[in-house]
């Protein structure tokens, strides 16, 4: 590896490049050069450095999905049902997320193509546009929900809504300003780790560790009243808080943009599992944070985030409540970055326009324009008075669950496509798991449909609490 050309050649970027090599290629090559050098080394330091270089998309996608509506959903779960059935259920949903996201790592590393691009290329524009329609609808609604979370979180400190939206937009632009995937990834990772702020906040509430530990063994207590319409919505909302279509598009495209290859798949998997572990900790912490509201029998039905902080203030103090509100705002900001980027990647792949975070502004005009327009439009909508924002918060996760089965079937077909995957097609056990996830998500959707159309049927099921 020592014969690799040193960094100094980057002094003359695209202007001097031949027709084959672009600025994007040069930036990616520099990132890959560091990976190759670390891989060539021996010992713990080299392996640790390799891990440091290769982590990113997995942690970002998992912590990014611990977004505004997800954190509100976890908070609502804790406040309405306390610690019990939902503690192990959260872990189960993140295991589901690992199964799903691992496939995108393999797909991206094996094909070097984004998710939208592969769907269009392999299945044609007819099915491609359906997939895009689901993505666009889901992403836009979720982006609106992210800005609602930012507004609610910063609103706790008296920040006016317009300023909260501007702060979120400014952070999004600052993360992009270097036009370098690596820098963007590290800045966003640092911001995403703030999601763990809910852990100290949970400790402030002095949780009942015995009940918490017992819940993982018994899955009890089950929500009072059994499987009611409300419980179904919460279950669906919590599933939608961990697996959504944008995650598939984002992680695969980010894997490609980062330049991961077949040799990096092991680290890609580790990155995904690490991300899921951190996200599970944050989700469980959030549940523990709001569980005291359940004990005090406080109604939290229409809370948007900051209301939880206000309600918890007598228990966790002003400092704890402030951390909580900051955590909600941060969740919205990080997700608004990752979700608008997933939209921009998908647009670039479908429109066959340059799409990379390594693109300078001039070469990536359409990519950056779509990215910023998505975020700006969602941010502006949040400022329109009289819009039913609470409804948006409540339905985004539900819509995510409903749109997942078709998205997963495309993913399943792609990872089993020997023509593009070669020997990296899914093994049988992975297919069994993926099929189980599709069936589970479809069943959850059907259960939701039944709970809305014919809620009386649920009472005859006699499932759980009674």
């Amino acid at each position: 590896m020592s014969d690799l050309v040193p960094d100094t050649i980057r002094q003359k970027p695209s202007a001097a490049s031949g027709p084959q090599i672009t600025h994007e290629d040069i930036d990616r090559a520099h990132d890959r050069q560091r990976v190759l050098l670390a891989r060539a080394g021996r010992g713990l330091f080299s392996r640790t450095r390799l891990l440091w270089l290769l982590i990113g998309p997995g942690i970002l996608v998992m912590l990014g999905e611990n977004d505004g509506p997800s954190m509100v959903s976890y908070a609502a779960t804790g406040a309405r049902f306390g610690v019990g059935f939902f503690a192990p259920f959260f872990v189960l949903t993140f295991v589901m997320a690992i199964v799903v996201q691992e496939m995108t790592v393999r797909l991206g590393a094996a094909t070097h193509r984004g998710h939208a691009e592969l769907i269009f290329a392999r299945f044609g524009p007819f099915w491609g546009w359906f997939a895009m329609l689901d993505l666009v609808l889901g992403n836009f609604l979720t982006l609106i929900a992210e800005f609602i979370a930012v507004r609610a979180g910063l609103g706790f400190f008296g920040v006016p809504p317009w300023l909260a939206v501007m702060i979120a937009m400014l952070i999004l632009i600052l993360a992009l300003i270097t036009h370098r995937y690596w820098t963007w990834e590290r800045i966003t990772l640092a911001a995403a780790l703030f999601n763990l702020v809910f852990i100290p906040v949970a400790l402030f509430t002095h949780p009942d560790w015995h009940a918490f530990g017992k819940a993982f063994v018994t899955w009890h207590p089950f929500p009072k009243g059994g499987l009611t319409k409300d419980t179904v919505v919460v279950i669906l909302s919590d599933i939608g808080a961990t697996v959504t279509p944008w995650m598939l598009f984002f992680q695969q495209s980010a894997t490609v943009d980062k330049g991961l290859t077949r040799k990096d798949i092991g680290f890609g998997r580790l990155d995904t599992v690490l991300g899921a572990a951190l996200a599970t900790l944050a989700a469980l912490a959030m549940m523990l944070c709001t569980a005291p509201l359940f004990s005090h029998q406080m109604s939290a039905e229409n809370f948007q985030g900051a209301e939880f902080a206000q309600a918890l203030q007598p228990i966790i103090g002003r400092f704890g409540a402030a951390l909580f509100a900051l955590g909600i705002a941060e969740a919205g900001i990080v997700a608004s970055i990752t979700i608008s980027i997933s939209s921009a990647y998908a647009f670039g792949e479908v429109a066959q326009r340059p799409h990379s975070l390594n693109l300078p502004m001039k070469q990536g005009k359409s990519f950056y324009t779509v990215l910023l327009l998505c975020a700006a439009a969602a941010g502006a909508l949040v400022l329109v008075p009289g819009l039913p924002l609470v409804s948006v918060i409540l339905i985004v996760n539900v819509i995510a669950v409903l749109a997942m089965p078709p998205a997963l079937v495309f993913l399943y077909m792609l990872v089993n496509d020997r023509e593009i995957m070669g020997d990296l097609v899914s093994p049988r056990w992975a297919n069994v798991l993926a099929t189980a996830v599709v069936i589970l998500l479809t069943a959850a959707g059907v259960l939701f449909g039944v709970s809305v159309i014919a809620p009386n049927i649920l009472t005859h099921l006699h499932f759980g609490g009674g």
Partner: protein, 68 residues
């Protein structure tokens, strides 16, 4: 060979040595061949499409109910 050409060649050499061919912007322009969907695949895709459309209608109904 002038300095600019030399640098460009060095860049090209470096990039092609470090990246896999498919990772280059040029390589990504190569079209991925279309595959033919089988009957069972079409059945699953259509069923799920109808499921999504129906369920979105259910969500809209529920939102309207809750807003009333």
């Amino acid at each position: 060979m002038n300095l600019e050409e030399g640098t460009a060649t060095a860049q090209e050499d470096f990039v092609t040595r470090v990246l896999e061919h498919d990772q280059l912007s040029q390589g990504k322009k190569r079209p991925v061949p279309r595959r033919h969907l089988r009957g069972i695949e079409l059945l699953v895709l259509w069923s799920l499409r109808i499921y999504v459309l129906f369920m979105i209608a259910v969500v809209v109904y529920q939102v309207m109910q809750s807003m009333r």
